[in-house]
């Protein structure tokens, strides 16, 4: 079954209504520092798949490899 894509303008209007506010400068710096502190300096390979390290430590690959 094909998914019907809604009219673009309607989608945009709907989304604007629930747009998130920008993070504070404090929050941005907090995440910037965390990126710089990841154990691997190029841990962004995770990000290529949306597997962003979280506060519990980057557990994604343990989960994947445990399958």
């Amino acid at each position: 079954m094909r998914i019907e894509i809604r009219r673009t303008s309607q989608a945009v209007e709907d989304h604007q209504a629930c747009e998130r506010p920008a993070a504070s400068e404090e929050e941005v710096l907090k995440f910037k520092k965390r990126m710089l502190e990841w154990p691997s300096p190029v841990e962004y390979v995770n990000n290529m798949y949306g597997c962003h390290p979280n506060d519990d430590g980057n557990e994604y690959f343990k989960v994947v490899f445990a399958k």
């Binding site: 894509i5 995440f31 520092k33 990126m35 390979v45 994947v64 490899f65």
Partner: protein, 396 residues
């Protein structure tokens, strides 16, 4: 220590870890260019433009043999994933056969495929099997709204298929990246298309890449953005990243990111994407090209080929060559020669380089230029085929 000093210290520490990665070069990613063939002929395609013969394509047995050899020869404890690119990977009729044959290796079960979505839209049933074979992510190219997308491909209906494939993949549980190549003719619709994608497709990642002067795009200079347009894209990313950064652990949130555009300086790094950039080509990223040549990402010029798996052991090539990827000094030319960011950037992405060491375009410099350009500034000329002062070990 105040906040500025604290961040500077962290950048210094980050740099020492990058230097360690260069020394150790653990194999963590395999980028497999499954084929150069494609069912579309996109004007902005970055696939290298060198003439190649598709009859040289690795056979099913050769591909499986290469993955098996790597599994046996390398320390796979630190291995991360396989990234399958093209051409269009699904043009290979044996793609699933290859995945079936290597899926018994536990470390080959985190696979990402970069696709135009046409095959998946026409064959949605394959999504279930891909998942069972270890495919976790799908990167789907969608370059704006329907008319923009289809006109670049010269084929109506491709936008509908790409968006269809992306939504089906999201619904099937894949980590989906919508890749948007920003060029002079679609940058104006980036904010609206991003909102549309978040609302209607809901990918995990919305990746923006700025068109590079490579591949087929080299012949379409009208697509190159001006410096002002580049800054427009950077401004958009900064705003959208800041909107979503504190929610990135929430898998339902669409993250924005600037793709492999290069180091953006200590101020902008950490504000445009949820990672700090350094090119990983040849550091932890091994490229297996369609014909068995060994390099890194498939959009890097074939001038940088380091070996040939049909004639050599992959481990020997990985350990004994890759000098152009791991020794950066040869890239310190043109705008990089005096750049204050050199020690962090090391010359930026390899796909922007030619053998002479010159760089196609530097986004960091573009983002800082305050004057208005009427057209994209040519920072340096690109002359592929020049020589550099050490042995590349090229096996063409």
């Amino acid at each position: 220590m105040n906040r500025g000093e604290d961040l500077r210290a962290l950048f210094q520490t980050w740099r020492t870890r990058i230097e360690a990665l260069i020394r150790e070069h653990p194999l963590q990613i395999i980028s497999w260019e499954a084929t150069r063939r494609c069912n579309l002929r996109c004007l902005h395609c970055g696939s290298p433009g060198e003439e190649v013969s598709s009859s040289d394509e690795l056979s099913t047995d050769e591909v499986v043999g290469a993955f098996d050899e790597i599994a046996r020869d390398f320390d796979m404890d630190r291995f991360r994933h396989i990234n399958i690119t093209g051409g269009e990977p699904f043009v290979r009729r044996d793609l699933l056969d290859v995945l079936r044959a290597i899926s018994h290796w536990p470390f080959y079960r985190n696979i990402d495929i970069q696709t135009n979505g046409v095959f998946l839209s026409d064959n949605p049933g394959v999504l279930e099997e891909l998942s069972s074979l270890g495919v976790t992510g799908l990167g789907i190219s969608i370059d704006g709204f329907e008319s923009s997308h289809d006109s670049l491909r010269g084929q109506p209906g491709t936008w509908a298929k790409a968006t269809d494939a992306a939504r089906l993949a999201v619904d099937a549980g894949y980590v989906v990246t919508v890749s948007f190549v920003a060029h002079s003719k679609n940058i104006h619709e980036l904010p609206a298309f991003h909102r549309f994608a978040k609302q209607e497709i809901r990918p995990r990642v919305f990746r923006v890449m700025i068109i590079d002067k490579q591949g087929r795009a080299q012949g379409n200079s009208d697509l190159y953005p001006t410096a002002n347009q580049v800054r427009e894209v950077i401004g958009f990313l900064r705003q959208e990243y800041e909107r979503s950064c504190s929610n990135y652990s929430d898998s339902s949130v669409t993250m924005v990111e600037l793709g492999c555009g290069g180091w953006m300086g200590p101020e902008l790094e950490g504000r445009l994407r949820p990672f700090v950039f350094h090119c990983i080509a040849g550091l932890n990223n091994l490229g297996v090209l369609f014909d068995g040549k060994l390099s890194s990402c498939s959009n890097i010029s074939r001038s940088f080929v380091q070996g040939d798996l049909r004639r050599e052991r992959i481990k020997d090539v990985w350990e004994g060559r890759y000098e152009p990827f791991r020794r950066a000094e040869w890239k310190k030319t043109g705008p990089c020669a005096q750049c204050e960011e050199w020690s962090f950037c090391h010359g930026g992405p390899m796909h922007k380089r030619c053998l002479s060491g010159t760089i196609d375009r530097c986004l960091y410099l573009d983002s800082r230029v305050s004057t208005c350009h009427s057209s994209a500034p040519d920072l340096v000329s690109t002359r592929r085929g020049d020589t550099i002062p050490f042995n590349l070990g090229v096996r063409q």
